[in-house]
């Protein structure tokens, strides 16, 4: 424990009537204790991996918090320069490992735009379904995980249990539970297996029921509300200035969703969906918004399944993919927020440069501002409610 020496008594000139203040000042100096520096992480159950927070504590109150990142840096931006385009999808779906399929989509989109080819409609629909499924699986884990960080053990298991149905669907369609690597430039590897659509409908019903359960068990719980309401308030403008995006920003009342407001991609323009926002911007709002978005995603999947066209799943592409010279920036609404790739091609089989813009990095950049003055337990709930993936921060 590091305690500093008490500072020397300040010289105070007595003024008439100031005697009481002097006594108070004296007491304050005597009771003043040194700050304690606490290392939350890199190995701490609440940091989802290897985030390190150097927290300066006065008692249990946080004086300052400095996130230290980079423990999981894997150098993906550099690695992409040594891979061909089809190989890179393997890399990018390990950035945010909870929603791997959603990470592939913008990259493949970038390559397709440079090559001016377009995936056939059925492939686009299946891509959208799988993207929404990975959104559901990511958010569903969050719904349980957040309750775990607030101290309730049971919802975490419900989250894991029902997420498994969704992962089974993703595995059924793509062959990979976590890292599907299912996108091809110009389409998809395979069509959907037989019976997959009807099974997906059943699972979506299960997820919708599970969301009701979370609403009762977690969001409706008085203790949960006491722990999260008006804790960690992010003003919408400040959040946007820090580059926050996705549900975190929508929970601060900013009505901005790239699926609706960005450059049209996949089949989102044809879908009828609501963008949920919450005016409060606190931890509870972030939980609530994700809960609603999970439901909305379920409805979107059901809609997509109803409208699913038939046809080929692969456009005509050359056997060796060479992307013409050019630059392109694609951004999409990933489960964690805005995810973008800036791809520079010099006409080779692999990109010349790739810049990856991942959501979590910007989402957690507000932490030093947000964590100042809160209590230690609230640090954990705020971290949980910001919902970041370490791979998405460090890349």
């Amino acid at each position: 424990m590091s305690t500093t020496e008490n500072p020397p008594m300040p010289e105070i000139q007595l003024e008439p009537g100031a005697l009481r203040h002097l006594a108070e000042a004296q007491v304050n100096v005597e009771l003043d204790t040194g700050d304690m520096i606490l290392n939350l992480g890199p190995q701490h159950p609440a940091t989802h991996g290897t985030l390190r927070l150097v927290v300066r504590l006065d008692g249990e109150r946080v004086v300052s918090a400095d996130p230290v990142i980079g423990y999981m840096h894997r150098g993906y931006e550099k690695l992409t320069e040594y891979r061909t385009y089809p190989q890179i999808t393997t890399l990018v779906n390990r950035i945010d490992w909870l929603s791997s399929f959603a990470n592939e989509v913008p990259f493949v989109d970038a390559a397709e735009r440079l090559m001016t080819i377009e995936a056939p409609p059925r492939a686009q629909y299946i891509r959208t379904v799988l993207t929404e499924l990975s959104r559901i699986s990511t958010f569903y884990l969050f719904l349980g995980e957040m309750a775990l960080q607030v101290g309730a053990l049971t919802p975490a298991f419900y989250g894991f249990r029902d997420r498994e149905y969704v992962l089974n669907l993703i595995e059924g369609a793509t062959g990979g539970r976590f890292h599907p690597n299912f996108n091809r430039i110009g389409g998809l590897k395979d069509d959907l297996p037989w019976g997959w659509i009807s099974e997906t409908r059943e699972v979506m019903q299960k997820i919708l029921d599970g969301c009701d359960e979370f609403e009762d068990l977690v969001a409706g719980n008085e203790i949960f509300q006491a722990r999260t309401k008006s804790i960690g308030i992010v003003p919408g403008e400040l959040g946007a200035a820090y580059g926050m995006s996705g549900s975190n920003l929508r929970a601060s009342g900013v009505d901005w969703d790239l699926r609706r407001d960005g450059r049209p991609y996949l089949v989102y323009p044809e879908l009828d969906f609501k963008v949920w926002t919450h005016p409060d911007g606190d931890s509870y709002a972030r939980y609530w918004v994700r809960l609603q978005e999970t439901r909305e995603s379920c409805r979107m999947v059901l809609q997509l399944l109803d409208q699913m066209p038939s046809g080929p799943i692969m456009a005509k592409v050359p056997r060796i993919i060479k992307v013409p010279e050019g630059e392109v920036w694609t951004e999409v609404e990933n489960p964690l927020g805005q995810m973008g790739y800036y791809v520079v091609s010099k006409g080779a089989t692999g990109p010349f440069r790739v810049k990856i813009r991942s959501a979590s990095f910007s989402n957690v950049s507000i932490m030093p501002w947000l964590l100042r003055g809160v209590y230690v337990p609230d640090v954990i709930t705020i971290l949980a409610s910001l919902y970041f993936i370490l791979g998405d921060i460090d890349r």
Binding site: M36, G151, N221, A226
Partner: protein, 343 residues
């Protein structure tokens, strides 16, 4: 007890038997509660099976196996720790659990020592464990452990007062502080003139029962009030540096205290060993079983809450204690006093 065994034993033998029973009770109780609630009930509430293989039948051997595992582990003492205090802390915690069982009656004659101020004694020794927690937290030379221990100390006042106030209502109604006397008062009492099932204070002291459950939950550092342990914040709080056998002591202490408090609540509010229509030697035989059933019911309530609720913050517990629990407890005492005088 000596009548039951039809043996005339000396005080030394009696003392030895009593000591052995008390010493066996805490680990046995911890095993039963740990298996029934921590392993099986929790698993089923979380839609999983829990351990199924060890021992053959629903994994009953799991906890014993865990115990054997803990004994095999290396006894690590962190560098810079206060070694003597570090070693003593788990013993202090366990001791407070053992001492509670001294006064809990399991039959008209089955009680180690029926003290005149039994309730007072039980609540006093149960608070000893906080000293052990503070010792553990301080001696570990770990910041997380220290934070956990200081939280436990801060929590002490918040729940100890409601706990006492909850029990005062029972004491007023029974007119005695002896636990055996409280059980007799419940067995022979009547609810507004109807004495069909005696008067378990559960009915007349329902507010007290609720207060007792809430405060006991804090005393046991179980979830809504498990801030000293707070797995997601302080990793395991004051226990973070403990390994092997010493950790096992904490574990037994934690679940054993739940056993003791369930027994205490069953005795104070549910009539203890008494059931309607059973008296004398028969009550001595059935008493332990009856007490056990009632105790398991109370323990079920403890653990049910534990597995369902999230955790409060330290300052929110203080607010709850001072603004809700203590006024409620005082109102309950006032009401009990008025009814006691009026009836």
């Amino acid at each position: 007890m000596s009548h039951l065994l039809a043996l005339d034993v000396g005080w030394g033998t009696t003392l030895a038997i009593k000591t052995i029973i008390i010493l066996a009770l805490v680990p046995a109780g911890a095993l039963i509660l740990g298996y029934t609630f921590l392993l099986k009930m929790m698993s089923h509430m979380q839609s999983r099976l829990g351990p199924m293989d060890p021992g053959g039948f629903h994994g009953w051997f799991q906890l014993i196996g865990d115990g054997i595992k803990f004994i095999q582990k290396e006894d690590v003492m962190p560098e810079g720790s206060d070694r003597r205090v570090f070693a003593m802390a788990p013993i202090v915690i366990l001791m407070s659990t053992f001492l509670i069982f001294v006064v809990i009656p399991a039959g008209p004659r089955i009680v180690v020592k029926d003290i005149d101020v039994g309730v007072f004694y039980a609540l006093a020794v149960s608070s000893l464990s906080v000293i052990g927690v503070l010792m553990a937290g301080w001696a570990s030379s770990n910041k997380f452990a220290l934070l956990g221990a200081l939280r436990a100390a801060a929590q002490l006042i918040a729940y100890e007062l409601p706990l006492l106030l909850a029990v005062v209502g029972v004491v007023v109604q029974a007119g005695t502080m002896s636990l055996q006397g409280i059980v007799f008062a419940q067995q022979n009492g009547s609810i507004f003139g109807w004495s069909g099932i005696g008067n378990p204070f559960f009915f007349t002291q329902i507010i007290g029962f609720g207060l007792f459950l809430v405060a006991a939950q804090a005393e046991l550092t179980q979830t809504p009030f498990d801030m000293p342990v707070a797995e997601s914040e302080l990793v395991a709080g004051y226990m973070v540096e403990y390994t092997g056998f010493r950790f096992l002591f904490f574990y037994i202490g934690e679940v054993g205290t739940a056993f003791a408090f369930a027994a205490l609540a069953a005795t104070l509010f549910l009539g203890g060993w008494a059931i309607p229509g059973v008296h004398g030697a028969m009550a001595d035989l059935l008493g332990p079983i009856v007490l056990f059933v009632k105790l398991m019911f109370v323990a079920f309530l403890f653990f049910w809450v534990r597995f369902t609720y999230p955790r409060l913050r330290e300052d929110q517990l203080q607010a709850l204690a001072w603004k809700v629990l203590i006024p409620l407890g005082l109102a309950n005492i006032l009401l009990t006093g008025i009814l006691k005088v009026a009836m």
